[in-house]
């Protein structure tokens, strides 16, 4: 048997516009139920939709970032189905004429490049939210109804859960870099629906295609796809019957369960939306959007590796979001050593941000100020250890490194006459260590260094102390 997993990903992304797709209600998460609705998004008779130009721009922007073609001309279509999350009984979507199509994406997994084909990125409207009551009835909130929604569909080119994870992580980073969406999966701003089956490429034989829903993190996509592939293998071996169906991911029990079987292909009776005229994106507009695209995460990562000799992993952490990457380059541009800058950024800075639940944009320490702190370490004005405390003070107060060091009296002591006095004192107070050191025990020096650091609250220049102690002991 030469069966292998074939996975496709359909990703829905709410676009970060001010208003909804076809009306001027606010596009906002978390407003009071049904407080962001009007005749258009409620589908009241006589209302007419007018497309939001920004949403069209955002889909073109995303399409270009994914190497898609932009349609010369395309239309919206009505997707007809009956479900109370749609007050109109149809969703305005795109069918045979997507706004962008035919792109691709280079996936980097375990050092290997793989090309994933992007079938299309189109524009539609989001639906309302149902809250199911214990008595069987449902409450409906239409605030989300009509929010611009982008659908990005790949060909079934993924062959492992890990490839899905890498793609979604990278796609999320791209959407944030190009500033079209917050792409937050926990809030449902970005939603992924994998389709999974096993195909024998020799015989063309395949297990029935399964679609998985209810995934609200990249991790759950990974787990659900992994589970589903294993389930298909199990069924193939045991001969258990499989169905073409939609399955729901059960996070608690880490398994998928049947939601509905598909006896026949869905019939949504698509037809061109008569209330909306065709979109014909002008060439100049497309080129304007293309020119405004920022450097994408993969290109930026490669540049950081090449220019600053960062390890692959470090570059990945730093480019995970654009603000962090920009911050990094600014520290380096302000004169910091690239390696020291990345260590500090990934260590103390990210540690502090995590601890305080802050974003890098909220950090009170400007990149130039961090570079100044690193310069103080470099020039031995403060020790690396004290610098950690200085950084926290800077982050809390917004003061510069110099100001904190001055105010707290934290300058490293490199004054040889003062250190000389301390060296004599350390030798006088640690006769045992002196004796051990003289009899060849190198480590005995540590006791005397420790004494001096203790006396100076860690401010003595450790290299200098070491050197002076050795000189003095050598003369004895």
């Amino acid at each position: 048997m030469a069966f292998a997993p074939c996975i496709g990903l359909e990703v829905h992304v709410e676009l970060d516009t001010e208003s909804k797709m076809f009306c001027q209600c606010r596009n906002e998460f978390g407003a009071a139920p049904n407080s962001r609705c009007c005749p258009v998004c409620l589908g009241l008779p006589g209302s007419l939709p007018v497309p939001n130009r920004k949403a069209v721009e955002y889909v073109i922007r995303t399409g270009l970032a994914l190497d898609c073609q932009v349609a010369e001309r395309c239309r919206f279509a009505r997707k007809n189905y009956f479900y109370p999350d749609l007050p109109k009984n149809f969703q305005i979507s795109q069918y045979d004429e997507p706004l962008t199509y035919g792109g691709h994406f280079h996936l980097q997994v375990n050092g290997q490049q793989k090309r994933i084909r992007i079938r299309r990125a189109h524009l539609e409207e989001d639906t309302g939210k149902n809250i199911h009551l214990p008595d069987g009835r449902s409450l409906v909130d239409y605030n989300r109804c009509g929010i611009p929604l982008m659908e990005i569909v790949t060909e079934p080119d993924f062959s492992s859960p890990e490839e899905c994870r890498v793609y979604l992580t990278e796609l999320r980073a791209i959407l944030r870099y190009i500033e079209v969406s917050t792409a937050n999966m926990e809030e449902g701003v970005m939603r992924a629906e994998p389709t999974v089956n096993l195909i024998d490429s020799d015989t063309g034989e395949a297990t029935p295609m399964v679609e998985i829903k209810n995934l609200n993190s990249i991790k759950s996509v990974y787990e659900a796809v992994k589970y589903e592939i294993q389930r298909h293998w199990r069924c193939l071996e045991s001969g258990e019957e499989m169905y073409q169906e939609t399955r729901l991911w059960d996070e608690q029990n880490s398994l998928t369960a049947t939601m509905r079987r598909k006896e026949s292909a869905d019939d949504y009776m698509y037809f061109p939306e008569p209330d909306l005229v065709p979109l014909v994106p002008e060439h100049e507009w497309i080129e304007e959007i293309r020119a405004s695209l920022p450097e994408l995460p993969s290109a930026l990562r490669q540049r950081l590796v090449e220019r600053y000799e960062l390890p692959e992993y470090g570059a990945e952490v730093i480019t995970a979001d654009r603000d962090t990457a920009v911050y990094y380059e600014q520290i380096v541009e302000a004169g910091a050593d690239p390696k020291a800058a990345s260590n500090w950024l990934m260590g103390d800075v990210m540690g502090y941000l995590n601890e305080q639940s802050l974003e890098i944009a909220d950090l009170k320490v400007a990149p130039e100020q961090l570079a100044e702190l690193l310069a103080l370490i470099e020039s031995n004005t403060i020790s690396g250890k004290i610098a950690k405390d200085v950084f926290v003070k800077m982050a809390e107060t917004g003061q510069s490194a110099q100001e904190v060091v001055k105010a707290e009296g934290l300058q490293q002591i490199s004054d040889e006459s003062e250190l000389g006095r301390l060296v004599d004192e350390a030798i006088a107070k640690n006769p045992k260590a002196v004796e051990d050191f003289k009899s060849g025990k190198e480590r005995a020096l540590g006791a005397m260094v420790g004494y001096i650091m203790g006396q100076t609250r860690g401010q003595a220049n450790p290299q200098l102390v070491n050197q002076m102690l050795r000189e003095k002991l050598g003369q004895m």
Binding site: P33, R36, R260, V277, L279
Partner: protein, 97 residues
């Protein structure tokens, strides 16, 4: 053009969520067939040089800028709902097909 079959009539009724008794199905089938005959007549025209038309007006690229304005007060939003509960629309149990 072939006549619409009873099965096709039933399928369309299902899609429209209409529960039609047999005699109604037969009547609707006859009516649909009359409409199809009319389209058959239209098909006699040669449209080889005519682009597929979805809109009767020759307009394109109608947009609005991305700006918001206040929505309806929630009382007005749910004013016409057949059933509601506080600030929500309330609907009967939905059986997913």
């Amino acid at each position: 053009m072939a006549e619409i079959s009873p099965e096709e009539v039933q399928h369309v009724a299902d899609l429209a969520r209409l529960a039609l008794p047999p005699e109604e199905l037969a009547r609707v089938g006859r009516e649909l067939n009359r409409i199809l005959v009319y389209f058959q007549e239209l098909q006699e025209l040669n449209t080889d040089d005519v682009a597929i038309t979805s809109h009767a007006v020759a307009m394109e690229n109608v947009y609005r800028e991305d700006s918001s304005r206040p929505s309806l007060p929630v009382e007005e939003v749910i004013a016409n709902a057949p059933d509601s509960a506080e600030v929500f629309f309330r609907v009967p149990r939905i059986v997913d097909k």
